[in-house]
């Protein structure tokens, strides 16, 4: 599978160095290595969800309990979570850190991903959720740490978009 194991490891290490000890996740192709790393890590609590929106509640509960967490999901999972994001994370000022695989953007071959690809950034902007791209392994750790810092300072959700450039190793 051409999902980059090396860069998945970089992302996972960055989550760990930010003190994240709980991740909720729903599997998707680009996230497979990240989810396995969380599963194999005795320091991490992995919560496998039936639908991504549950992760908003799980992360809020963890936050109240003093545990740092992140949601790992596809952008369609972000779309499926919007009510929870608005009526829980934003209403109750939860510093929700969302790591979102940015499927359906340029380079996408799966036709079923394409509409979600073009809706993702407009929706993040409409919800006033700041986001940054994870594209270069050299800057991944800094971007995740900065997003988390901002989320805690503002008590607001923040998103990081996992890009094709980082996650997919394809013969060109």
């Amino acid at each position: 599978m051409p999902v980059s194991q090396t860069n998945s490891r970089v992302v996972y290490a960055a989550l760990k160095s930010c003190g994240i000890r709980m991740v909720s996740a729903l599997p998707e192709t680009w996230l497979v290595h990240l989810i396995r790393m969380a599963e194999d890590d005795p320091e991490m609590t992995l919560v496998r969800l039936a639908k991504e929106e549950e992760g908003v509640g799980v992360s809020a509960g963890a936050h109240f309990a003093g545990v740092k967490s992140a949601m790992l999901m596809q952008n369609h999972g972000f779309l499926a979570s919007i009510n929870g994001i608005v009526s829980f994370a934003q209403l109750y000022r939860i510093p929700l850190l969302m790591i979102v695989s940015y499927r359906g953007h340029f380079g996408e071959r799966d036709p079923w991903q394409t509409q979600g690809g073009s809706a993702t950034e407009p929706l993040l902007r409409a919800l006033r959720i700041p986001y940054a791209f994870l594209e270069d392994p050299q800057t991944v750790e800094k971007r995740i740490a900065e997003a988390q810092t901002w989320a805690y300072a503002s008590l607001h959700p923040a998103a990081l978009l996992l890009t094709r450039q980082l996650m997919w190793e394809e013969a060109r």
Binding site: T45, F64, N83
Partner: protein
């Protein structure tokens, strides 16, 4: 059986727990009995009270967590029952007040009024300890026993579709949220 009398009957058992409720009548009635710092009322995000309870219970395995849920909310997040069952937090007691209606928006009947059985759904999801209760005595006994059990439990309490006349209380949402978080931090230091 009325939800308010159920809450009154077990109110004294909540001191050492973290309590999460759904919005509407449940939040309002529990507050009417006396708000405590260990109560968090999720005044929107229907369906996510149980997920919040799961996040709390997994993060604080030595802390009892009680979720007061409702049929309308559970029906919006049936998948969440499978997630609860998957992780089976031994410190989580999940109470579903089932009045077979969406009371706060005018009493429209939910699917539990036409035969959907939430206890069977919870059991089918994989929660081993479940119950359905219809009287105050049964409710109190089952809640006590669930609180003593070292096992995830999900109990359905069939209640009348009656509630308070209004749902807005004096407690601001954010005041409740920060007070709850601070309360947990204080407990953890003890």
């Amino acid at each position: 059986m009325q939800r308010l009398e159920c809450l009154r009957a077990i109110y004294g058992m909540l001191d050492d727990c973290l309590v999460v409720t759904i919005m509407g009548a449940v939040a309002c009635e529990l507050q009417s009995l006396g708000h405590c710092e260990n109560f968090f009322y999720l005044q929107h995000a229907m369906g996510l009270a149980s997920s919040t309870g799961l996040g709390l219970a997994l993060s604080l395995p030595d802390q009892k967590v009680v979720v007061f849920d409702g049929d309308g909310s559970v029906l919006m997040n049936l998948g969440g029952l499978t997630t609860l069952a998957r992780y089976r937090p031994r410190n989580l007691v999940h109470v579903i007040f089932d009045n077979e209606s969406l009371l706060s928006v005018g009493g429209f009947p939910t699917a539990t009024s036409t035969g959907s059985n939430l206890e069977e759904i919870a059991r089918g999801a994989g929660i081993a300890r479940t119950a359905t209760v219809r009287s105050l005595e049964e409710f109190t006994a089952e809640f006590e026993s669930a609180m003593r059990a070292d096992e995830l439990s999900s109990m359905v309490a069939k209640v009348e579709a009656v509630g308070p006349s209004g749902y807005v209380t004096d407690l601001a949402l954010l005041e409740n949220r920060f007070q709850f978080q601070r309360h947990i931090a204080k407990r953890r230091l003890k």
